[in-house]
Each structure stands twice: as C-alpha cells, then as structure tokens.
C-alpha cells in the first residue's frame, strides 16, 4: 500500500487492511480518519465481509445441541476420566505387587541351575570299584575257604608241627 496521503485506497487494499487488522496499519488509519469516502467504503466493505462470514449456527434447534451433549455423555460414560483411570491403574498395580509378593513367599527354592556341558569331547569316566581288601571280593567269596586253606599259615605249621 504505497498510496500517498491524498490518494484513495482500492477495495483490495481496504480488504487487506481489514484482515490484517486496521489498527496495525497506521497510514491507512490516518487516511481513513481524513478521507470520508474511503472511510465509508471501508465501513461498507467491513459490513460486507462480516455478513459473508456470519454463519447462522446459533439458530440451530435446541434438539441439535441436546443430541450432541447426549452423544458425548454417552461416549464418555463408557470411558472413565483420567483421574478415575489413574486410580484404577494404581489399584491394579498395588494388587499385582501384593499378589507377586505372596506368590514369591510361597515359592520353593529354585532348582539348581543347569550347567551346560562344555563343547569339548565328553570325558568318559569309568569308575572301577575295587574293594579295599581283595579278599573281600564277592568273586572270591566262594573260593574263600580254598584260598584261605592254601595260604593259611597256622602258627603250628610255622612252628614245625608237621606230624
């Protein structure tokens, strides 16, 4: 808007002034204050734009607004408020914690940890059980008397009693 003070503003300029807020444009406001023609045109334009933008929603029937409220209230009836939801979540958390503690107190000692065998070749350990005293061997059990006889050194024999 480069008009000189004496020039009139176009409708487009005035429209721009209207949307950009008249108070923000000091040159235009000063011009409108001095030029009754432009001021009148601005007034008409403003009225026109206001009329174009007016929407007659307030004259909707009350039933429209009531229906809208009922619809919302029905929907939020099935949806708890944030406060109630938080309270429920907190209660659920406390319950879970309590139940968890109760179960853990009843739990038996955990089974021993499974030790994985090393990936090397398995060692075959053959345990040979040898009796501490060969004479006690079960295999020799039935021969015990013979063996005992053959090796039995009686004190008499040792003493030369070979009669």
């Amino acid at each position: 808007m480069n008009q000189q003070f004496s020039e009139h503003y176009s409708e487009a300029d005035l429209l721009e002034t209207y949307y950009m807020q008249p108070g923000a444009s000091m040159p235009v406001m000063m011009h409108l204050a001095d030029c009754s023609d432009c001021a009148a045109r601005y007034e008409r334009l403003e009225k026109k734009v206001r009329g174009l933008s007016a929407c007659a929603h307030d004259d909707k029937p009350d039933t429209f607004w009531a229906r809208q409220r009922i619809s919302v209230m029905r929907k939020i009836g099935a949806r708890p408020s944030a406060f109630a939801r938080t309270a429920r979540v907190a209660a659920a958390a406390v319950l879970v914690a309590a139940l968890g503690g109760w179960f853990s107190s009843r739990q038996v000692a955990p089974p021993p940890a499974t030790v994985m065998a090393p990936q090397t070749a398995p060692e075959i350990s053959v345990q040979i059980t040898t009796p501490a005293d060969p004479w006690d061997s079960e295999e020799l059990g039935e021969f015990q008397s013979i063996v005992a006889w053959e090796s039995w050194d009686t004190p008499a024999a040792k003493n030369g009693d070979q009669s």
């Binding site: 721009e16 950009m20 023609d37 008409r44 734009v49 933008s53 409220r69 619809s71 109630a84």
Partner: protein
C-alpha cells in the same frame, strides 16, 4: 430467577467433574459447545465434520481434564483442541485429494449467505456474491495452515494474537501466512470492479 453470578465457575465445574460428577461436565459442554462448533465449522466448512470435531473435542477434554492446569481459560483450551482437530481434517482431505485428483475443498459445503446490505440492491448483491466467490475460490489454493489462519480471521474474526495463541505460533508467523492468503484473494478479485456508482473509486487491481 437465577443470578448469572451464581453460576458455577469453569474451575468449580472442572473440579466437580474430576470428582465424578457427570452433570458438571454436561454444564461445561452446554456452556461452550456452540462456540466450539462455530470454530470447527469455520475451519472445515462442513456441518457433519464440525459436529464430529465438537464431540471429539469434548471427549478429549474430558479424558485429559486432570491435565488441564488452568493457566489458560478453559474456552481457549477447548478452542485449541478443536482447531487442531480441524487441521487434521484439512490435512486428511489434502492427502485424499492427492489420490482422487479432486479439488482440495471440493467436498466442502458451500454455505448460502444472504447479501449483507440491508437494502435489496441487485448491484450490491452481485458484488457480495462476487466477493464471496472470490474468497471461496482463493481458499482452495491455500495451504492447510494458511486456510486455518485465514478462516479463523475471516469467519471467527479472531485477532492475529488470538489466532497465534490458539495455534501455538508467533504472531509474526500468523501475519506472514495471512498476508500470503490475502494476496491470493486479491488476485482472485482482479476482475472485481468497485461499485460503478462511485466513479472516483479505483478498480480492484
């Protein structure tokens, strides 16, 4: 007769709602639903979608009411929710139009407006219609952001500061978007001539 000052404040109604009083939220809704609907309609220019946005706004407000800190007015908070919902609708329309090759706002309801001048002057009627058509045509070329800003200014007559507050933008950004939007409207008005009865008036550029 009830004194208006006896009406419970928004804050009192919020507290009652949080305490589980469903009727309090109903009162809040009754208080603001017309304004929210009007804002929603301004943004999306569709009655059904404006109704949906209004309902969604109150449902969202209800579910997040405990987060409302009261730093702004409840009305401002609700308006902001509604505008954001409206922006989502505009963005979705724009996205859909990419695939359907439809005009961005083809589906928008054209509101029939009465001529604004009191006297039944056909000439003035014609100019009003021209202006309305130019504005509607220009709106289709605006980006969603520009559209929201222009419509809040045009239909709701909100100040630039209010628009900035509702959109969470700086006033300078809003001014720049609005300026671009108005220039598109000016180019649409290129063929619109001033009232010929006022011969000294310059034609619209």
């Amino acid at each position: 007769m009830s004194n208006p000052s006896d009406a419970p404040t928004d804050q009192a109604l919020i507290e009652r709602t949080l305490a589980g009083d469903g009727t309090a939220f109903g009162i809040l809704m009754e208080r603001f639903q017309r304004k929210i609907y009007r804002v929603a309609f301004s943004v999306v220019r569709d009655e059904v979608e404006a109704d949906t946005i209004t309902q969604d706004t109150f449902i969202q407000a209800y579910t997040h009411l405990s987060r409302f800190e009261g730093r702004a007015e409840l009305e401002t908070w609700l308006t902001r929710i509604a505008i954001n919902r409206g922006r989502d609708v505009l963005r979705r329309r724009r996205f859909v139009s990419l695939f359907t090759l439809r005009s961005d706002d083809e589906g928008e309801t054209e509101t029939m407006l009465e001529p604004v001048d009191e006297r039944p002057d056909p000439e003035r009627q014609f100019l009003s219609v021209q202006l309305r058509v130019a504005i509607q045509r220009a709106e289709r070329t605006l980006s969603p952001q520009q559209k929201v800003i222009f419509r809040l200014r045009h239909y709701e007559n909100l100040s630039l500061e209010d628009i900035a507050a509702h959109l969470g933008l700086r006033a300078g950004t809003v001014r720049a978007h609005l300026f671009r939007a108005i220039h598109k409207i000016r180019s649409e008005l290129a063929g619109w001539r001033a009232n010929p009865r006022m011969d000294h008036e310059p034609a619209i550029q």
